[in-house]
Amino acid sequence: MGNEAQTPDAAASVDFQEVQQTAQFQELRKRHRSFVFPMAIAFLLWYFAYVLLADYAVGFMSTKLWGNINVGLVLGLLQFVSTFGITAWYVSYSNRRLDPVAAEIRNEIEGHEFDKGSTVRGAAQ
C-alpha cells in the first residue's frame, strides 16, 4: 500500500476528525462497508442454509445426480467455489475501488493537509 514513505509520527499531528469528515473519506468508508457487510451476510446465510439442509433435509441432500455424486456433495463443493469466488471478487474490488482512494487520502495526510492548527480548521476551536 506504499505506506513505507511516511515517518512513524506523521500521524501524531493529524486532525483525524477533520479527515473523517471529508467527502473523500466518507466515500471510502461507504465503498468499504457497502461491499463487506452485504457479502458477509450473504455468505453466512448461504453457509447456514447449507448446514440446515444437511441437518434437516437428509433425503434431499442424498438425491443422486450422476453416479454416486449426490446433491449434498455438489452443494458442499459449491461452498468451496463460493468461498474462492468471493475471495477473488473482494481482491479485485479492493484493487479497483478501495486502494486508490485510500492511497490518495494517505498522500494528503502525509502532505500535512490535515495537521492540527492548520488554517483549514474551522469553527470547532
Binding site: 505506506n3 483525524f16 468508508r29 442424498s62 455424486i69 461452498q79 468461498t83 502525509e110
Partner: protein, 538 residues
C-alpha cells in the same frame, strides 16, 4: 483394483518407527538451521513478536495455513470422513468458510491499527487498562485450551506413529517435542516460528496432494467410482449422505449448528491467527496472506475429502477404528497402504511437525500477550523498555512451554478432544463481538467491551463445564459424575449471541462516552493505513 480386499497389517507399523523418527529428525535439523540463521537479526520487540514485519503475503499465507491445519484437521478430518462419511466433510467446510470473516472484516483493519497483539486493537480507542486486561485474559484462555488439546493429542499420535504405548515412553516423547518447541520460539521468535510453519505447510500439502492423486489414479480419476468403493467397503450407502454423525438425534443436529457457528465466527478471532497479520509490512500484504491461506486451506480440505473416502475404500472403517489411535489413524494407514513404510514415515513426520508448528505459534502468541499487554502496559504502565519486555516474553515462553509439557503428560489419555471446539467457541464469544464492534460501531464503549468479553468468556466456559462433554455420559471427561444440565457439547449457539447482546447492552447503559477523536483516528487509520506500524529495516 477397486474390489481389492482391505488388508493393512497394523502390526507392521511398529517396524517403521525408526524410519519415522529419522525423517522427523531430518525435519528438526533443517528447521533448526533455518531458525538459527533467521534469528540473527532478532533485535527489537517488533523482530521478536512480529518477525520485523518482513514476511511477504504469500509467505505469511503459507504460514497461516501451517498454523491452522493442525493435527486435528489433518488426521481428525480424514478419519472423520473415513468413518462417518459425509459428516466429516461437512465439518471441514466450516473451517474454510470462516476465512471470509477474516478476509472481509478483520485482517486489513487489524493490521492497520495494531502493533503486536489483539489487545492493541481492542484497546485502541477505549480505556486501556480494563480492555487490555480482558483481551489478554481471553487470549491466554484460548491459547491454553488450544495448547492443551494439541499436547494431549500428541500422546495418541505417539502410540500410533512410533508404536510407544507405555505411559513413561509417551511422556518422554512429549518432553522432547515440548523442549524442541521452546528452543524454536526462544531463539527464533516469530521469525523462527513462521519458518517452521511454512516448511510444515509445504510438506503437509505436498504429501496430501501426492496421496490424493495416488488414490484418484486407483479409481481412474473418477470421483463417483471412489465414492462407490467407499460405500461398498463400508457396506452402508449412507456414508455418502449427511446425518451419520450429527443426524442421530435432535440434540446432535442442534449441536452441529452450534459448532458451525463457533467455527465460522471463531476462526477470525483466534489470537494466534490474528497475530500473524502483524508479520507483514502492509495491509495489502495482510489481504494477500488471507487470499493465499484460503486457497491453500481450501485445496487441502478438498484433498482430505479424497483421502477420507480413499481410506474408507482401501483400508476400511473397521481396521481404522481398531488401530492404535483409532479414527486418527486413517491418514497414516492409507499412507502405509499406498506407499509402504517410506510414505508412512513421511506422513508421520509431517504430523509431528504439525504439532510442533501449531504449539510454537500458540506459545509465542500467549507470551506476547502476557509480556506486551499484561507486563508492559498494565503492570509497568507503559514504562518498561522494549528490551525488558522481550526478556519477559522469553521467560514466559519457557513457563508456557513447561506448562504445556506437564499438561500434555497429564492430559494424555484423557478425553480432551472438546478443547479445540471450546477454543473456537471462546474466540467467537469473547473476542469477535468486541473486534467487530470496535471496528465498525462508533458508539461502542469500554463497558460494552468488558461486558461482552467477560460475559462471552464466562458463558462459554460455564456451559462447557455443565455439558455432556464434561459429565453425565460414557464419553465424558468425568463419566462417573453427572452435572450436565446444558444438553449441547458446544456452547456457541448461546454464548455468541449473548456476547453480542452484552456488548450492545453494556454500551447503551454506559454513562461515560468514549473519546471521539480516538474513534476518528482508529477509523481513518484502519481504512487508509496511515500511521500503521512499518517493516523493520536491517
Amino acid at each position: 483394483m477397486s474390489a481389492m480386499v482391505p488388508m493393512v497389517n497394523v502390526a507392521a507399523l511398529k517396524d517403521t518407527t525408526l524410519l519415522n523418527m529419522g525423517i522427523f529428525a531430518l525435519f528438526v535439523l533443517v528447521t533448526m538451521v533455518i531458525v538459527f540463521r533467521a534469528s540473527r537479526n532478532n533485535k527489537t520487540a517488533a523482530d521478536y513478536y512480529a518477525a520485523g514485519r518482513s514476511f511477504t503475503g504469500s509467505q505469511n499465507g503459507t504460514a497461516i495455513a501451517g498454523d491452522y491445519l493442525s493435527a486435528a484437521s489433518f488426521l481428525g478430518i480424514t478419519g472423520a470422513i473415513a468413518v462417518n462419511g459425509y459428516d466429516g466433510f461437512l465439518y471441514s467446510i466450516g473451517f474454510l468458510v470462516a476465512w471470509l470473516v477474516a478476509l472481509l472484516l478483520v485482517a486489513e483493519l487489524l493490521r492497520n491499527t495494531g502493533k503486536f497483539t489483539m489487545a492493541d486493537v481492542l484497546s485502541f480507542r477505549l480505556r486501556q487498562r480494563p480492555v487490555r486486561i480482558a483481551a489478554a485474559l481471553s487470549t491466554l484462555a484460548v491459547c491454553f485450551f488450544y495448547l492443551l488439546a494439541q499436547m494431549a493429542g500428541a500422546g495418541s499420535l505417539i502410540s500410533l506413529l512410533l508404536g510407544i504405548s507405555d505411559w513413561g515412553g509417551q511422556a518422554l516423547v512429549i518432553v522432547v517435542v515440548g523442549a524442541l518447541m521452546i528452543v524454536y520460539v526462544l531463539i527464533g521468535g516469530m521469525k523462527g516460528t513462521t519458518w517452521v510453519q511454512i516448511i510444515k505447510a509445504v510438506l503437509l500439502i505436498c504429501g496430501a496432494a501426492v496421496m490424493t492423486l495416488w488414490v484418484l489414479s486407483i479409481y481412474g480419476f473418477n470421483l463417483s467410482n471412489l465414492l462407490g468403493a467407499a460405500a461398498d467397503s463400508a457396506k452402508n450407502p449412507n456414508v455418502l449422505n449427511p446425518g451419520l454423525q450429527y443426524g442421530k438425534t435432535e440434540t446432535s443436529k442442534l449441536d452441529f449448528m452450534s459448532l458451525g457457528l463457533a467455527l465460522v465466527l471463531g476462526t477470525a478471532a483466534l489470537p494466534h491467527v490474528l497475530m500473524r497479520f502483524y508479520t507483514v509490512p502492509t495491509a495489502k500484504e495482510a489481504r494477500k496472506s488471507v487470499v493465499w491461506s484460503i486457497w491453500l486451506i481450501g485445496l487441502f480440505y478438498l484433498f482430505t475429502l479424497v483421502l477420507g473416502y480413499g481410506a474408507a475404500a482401501l483400508v476400511g472403517a473397521d481396521t481404522i477404528k481398531s488401530a492404535p489411535g483409532g479414527v486418527n489413524s486413517a491418514a497414516p494407514l492409507l499412507a502405509f497402504h499406498l506407499g509402504g513404510p517410506l510414505l508412512l514415515g513421511f506422513i508421520s513426520a509431517v504430523a509431528f511437525a504439525t504439532i510442533l508448528a501449531v504449539v510454537a505459534g500458540l506459545t509465542i502468541t500467549a507470551a506476547a500477550s502476557f509480556a506486551h499487554d499484561i507486563y508492559a502496559n498494565v503492570i509497568s504502565k507503559g514504562k518498561a523498555d522494549a528490551g525488558t519486555e522481550v526478556k519477559v516474553a522469553r521467560r514466559t515462553v519457557v513457563v508456557i512451554g513447561v506448562l504445556a509439557i506437564l499438561g500434555g503428560i497429564f492430559a494424555n489419555g484423557q478425553n480432551v478432544a472438546f478443547l479445540v471446539a471450546l477454543a473456537f467457541a471462546v474466540a467467537a464469544s469473547a473476542n469477535l463481538p468486541t473486534i467487530v464492534y470496535s471496528l465498525f460501531w462508533k458508539k461502542f464503549t469500554t463497558q460494552g467491551a468488558t461486558w461482552s468479553m467477560y460475559g462471552g468468556l464466562a458463558a462459554a466456559i460455564i456451559l462447557i463445564a455443565l455439558s455432556p462433554v464434561v459429565s453425565g455420559a460414557k464419553t465424558s471427561m468425568i463419566p462417573g459424575a453427572n452435572f450436565a444440565i446444558f444438553p449441547l457439547s458446544n456452547p456457541g449457539i448461546v454464548s455468541i449471541p449473548l456476547a453480542f447482546l452484552l456488548g450492545w447492552l453494556g454500551t447503551v447503559l454506559d454513562k461515560r462516552r468514549e473519546d471521539t477523536a480516538k474513534q476518528a483516528e482508529m477509523e481513518v487509520r484502519s481504512l487508509t493505513g496511515i500511521g500503521a506500524e512499518k517493516a523493520v529495516n536491517h
